[in-house]
């Protein structure tokens, strides 16, 4: 999320705190659409691991249900001098071998399915290392529960790289399991208002006490993503959690890097992980 989006969200939120807005369901049946589209969600980063691409199908909007995975696709990643074939290890989920992406290289995902050849490209840009990550115990006010919640704040100190266009996606893992694992919990920024500045004591996450075992390994994953992927995440939020005020622009599809052939996004990133051990009950 950019500072700009944060500002806008705060304004909109504040306005609706002011007014006692009321909601009401509408009994409306959207027309069935049998023209389903392929949905591709994939990434390739500089972490040494098996990188994943998931392929599913879209469905009728009001009938949200289990993901419809697409099997038996041919999936490979091309770069300038190699081709990496992915293997389907679970239904609709395709993995690379253990490997890592190379900085400053472009990678193109190719999916062949039912006579359709879908392509999506992205480039890895170089990330500066983070100076420090630290955790402080505290309380955060929850607007949904209307009370203060005990937990831990995760902070970051780092030098932002000079030159506009850097975008960051932050992920939090607790004992190797992704904690902010949905779009509404995603944390991402661009450097529009902070370019080249030293980012001191930037709050990234709040972890509720109840979500922590007594001892945890907290991993903060910092990804330098492309501006296109940053825009894609923004547009997804504009069509989901950020929609609902009279000042919204018209609805539209988030722009994937697969053209009109598929939904979703294939992104690359320079990624670093930082680990901390957290003992919950020590002051």
């Amino acid at each position: 999320m950019s500072v700009k989006q944060f500002l806008l969200l705060v304004i909109v939120f504040g306005i609706f705190v002011l007014f006692l807005s009321c909601e009401e369901p509408i009994n409306y049946v959207l027309s069935e659409n049998s023209d389903y589209k392929y949905v591709i969600e994939g990434s390739f980063t500089t972490l040494f691991k098996k990188h994943k691409v998931e392929i599913s199908l879209s469905d009728n909007f009001l009938n949200k249900g289990p993901k419809k995975m697409v099997q038996n696709a041919i999936v490979y990643i091309n770069s300038e001098n190699e081709t990496i074939y992915l293997q389907e290890e679970e239904p609709g989920i395709y993995y690379t071998p253990f490997m890592r992406a190379i900085k400053n290289k472009s990678y193109e995902l190719n999916v062949l399915i039912n006579g359709l050849h879908i392509k999506g490209k992205d480039t890895v840009r170089e990330l500066l290392p983070v100076d420090s990550i630290f955790i402080i115990k505290g309380k955060e006010f929850s607007y949904t529960e209307q009370k203060y919640i005990e937990g831990f704040f995760v902070f970051l100190n780092m030098q932002e790289k000079q030159g506009k266009g850097d975008c960051y996606l932050f992920e939090l893992l607790i004992n190797n399991k992704l904690y902010n694992d949905s779009l509404k919990e995603s944390v991402f920024y661009n450097d529009e208002f902070i370019d080249g500045n030293y980012l001191k004591n930037i709050k990234l996450f709040f972890i509720k006490n109840d979500d922590l075992p007594d001892t945890s390994i907290i991993t903060v994953r910092v990804n330098l993503i492309s501006h296109k992927y940053y825009n894609y995440l923004n547009e997804l939020l504009m069509e989901t959690y950020w929609r609902g005020s009279p000042w919204d622009g018209p609805s539209a599809n988030a722009k994937s890097n697969f053209g009109n052939k598929a939904l979703g996004f294939f992104y690359t990133a320079d990624t670093r992980e930082y680990h901390l051990k957290l003992l919950k009950n020590i002051e």
């Binding site: 304004i11 369901p25 709050k203 989901t240 009279p246 000042w247 018209p250 539209a252 599809n253």
Partner: protein, 778 residues
Amino acid sequence: MKVIFQVLIMVIFSLNSLLAQKNYTLSGFITDDNGEVLIGATIVSLKNSVGTTTNQYGFFSITLPFGENTLIVSSLGYISDTIKIFVDENKKLNLKLIPEVKKIDEVVINAHKSDENIKKANIGLVSLQSKTIKSIPVVFGESDLLKSIQLLPGVQSGVEGMGGFFVRGGNSDQNLIILDEAVVYNPNHLFGFFSVFNTDVIKNVELYKGAIPAEFGGRLSSVLDVRTKEGNLEKISGEGGIGLISSKISIDGPIIKNKSSFLISGRRTYADLMIPFSSDSNARKGKFYFYDLNTKFNYIINEKNRIYISGYFGRDVNRFAQTFKINYGNASFTLRWNHLFSPKYFSNFTLLYSNYNYIFGSAPEDVTRFLWKSSITNYMFKNDHSIYISTKNNLKFGLQSIFYKLKPAIITSEIESVVSEFKLPDNFAFEHALYLSHNYQTKNFKITYGFRVSLLQNIGKAEVYKYNNDFIVVDTLYYPSGKIFNYYLNFEPRLSLSFLINEKNSIKLGYNRMSQNIHLASNSTANFPLDIWFLSNLNIKPQIADQISLGYFRNFINNKIETSIEFFYKNIYNLIDFKDHAQLMLNPYLEGEIRTGKGFSYGAEFFIRKNIGNLIGWISYSYCRSFRKIKGINNDKVFPAPFDKPHNVSVVLSYNFSEKIDFSTNWVYSSAIPVTVPVGGYYYYNTWIPYFSERNSVRIPGTDYHRLDLSVNIKYKIFKLNAGTIVSVYNVYNRHNAFAVYFRDKSVSKVNNNGDGVDVVKLYLFPIIPSVYSYIKF
């Protein structure tokens, strides 16, 4: 001798004849009994069946032949006056009209000029008086100009409760809103729930929907011309009122009786006065209020010269506990000098200043603390001339020159913060215009034709980006201070025709071409205080609109009932829209978000109005469609505009029950707005995402808008002063009109968060709302 006598007789008769054909001009000002000039008052010669109307300063000029004559002087809401006069020289004739009151009532409209509807030349012009506006019940019981004009045919509202309006399929930034000739860039308080216009100081409002006269320009769709009172020249007077949301007080009176007067009026909300009593310590640090201040001074120097000075200042102050603040408001100043070169030659010189600015800032202790400022300022000079050549002919011409200074955004942090200073380049421009129009009328025919020429000049200091066909910046051009680096010249013809079939029927025709060089960066139907204006430049051409309108006007039952039907068609070229997910805020490459194309709208407006009797009011129905075709949007296919609401009905009625009680009611209906709905969904990042097809392709059943409001005005005396209390109920049958419609995953829906799936949800704002407002006049 006999021959000499005959020649003498012939000479005498010839002389008499010559004298009888000689014309003289009667000119002057028509005012009410307090010295307020009356705009649009009519003066008609019964003998010659010719007439004229007063201009914006109450001035008239009528040329009549030598001899006895009878003049009928009339104006909406005033008792007509009949004057017998012998016309034998040019005469100064300052006339006063007395307000017509029904018993002690002053809220009800009556004494409408009986056939003005038929005879007046302008098609698409609607006049509203303060009394009308005050009699219409609106939300929270506060009378409101913008809410009132939304009830007129051809005018649509945007979002429930908000102030934006759309005229004949045009966007909300295509309306020129002027207050005593100064442009108002954001006419809204409290994010659009109230307007900046204090109805206690409004004298006259004119809305031009079509056939816009040549003296107006700069916007495509309409002109809302709001004039405030000058101040009572006879005695000190005033009024005040207390409502649920705000209170106001106005005082006006003479400085020198019959020569100079003042007016001062203020309004403020006071909900924030309750905040210190909140149990929440955070809430106690909040501030939420708005205020308006209107001031006016006028001075009649002599018979030929008058000076008017007026000012407006208004502000919204919002501070949300320790998180952020957002303050915004308008300021304007107008200095006008009327000068009569002769009884037939009236001129006006005006200097104007308008400003709109806002500040948005975070909490000072926040690590991302910032202060964001933006403003638009214009300085303007206007010079208007009217020459009343004869009663059949008059000429208007003039010029105006505006200097624009736009500061779209500057973000600073006064103390150490991670947020850098950020500035969007300032924009400067001149916009000049010349206009000329001629009005010619006979007994049954009136024509006004003319043109306006507008010239926009973009001036440095400027930083202009060059884009490729994919809207990616490929170069930056720098222009030094004062350099004119671009211009646009537009020729705008205007025409208005009226054929009087007989005393009860007329047909009118109008045409105008308008150009617009300044635009609002907004892609929603609700005005947002942080929206910015931007100018046409090297990358953005002016928007141009052609509108033609045709109307038939008919009165019934001795002019007690007026009816009309009007048709219009409007074409817009270089129409500005924004790409999907456009980033309009703080974007230095805003032009890259713009997509241009064409728009067209058409419709019909049916209007029936009763102005006389205990029951007065109007019923209107309009059918209006508005479409766009923009390259790069909706796959280049035609789509409905976001405010396209085909059917609109307004019923506005007022009944004078007794000397002490009036009832008023409104009922409004409009079609549902078109929305873009999902045709599928998919998972990404563990979230169900909607997938859309065509823009604005669906109107969701049940989201059409209708509402009934009722009010009763109970009049009484307090210490012999006229006072009253208005009790009103907004949305009497508690209709849950949609404020916004969206599609929400059940897991985050407040409505029904059990299980999987998606809800279609409407957000509604105003249930049934009773309110009370008390007033007093002195």
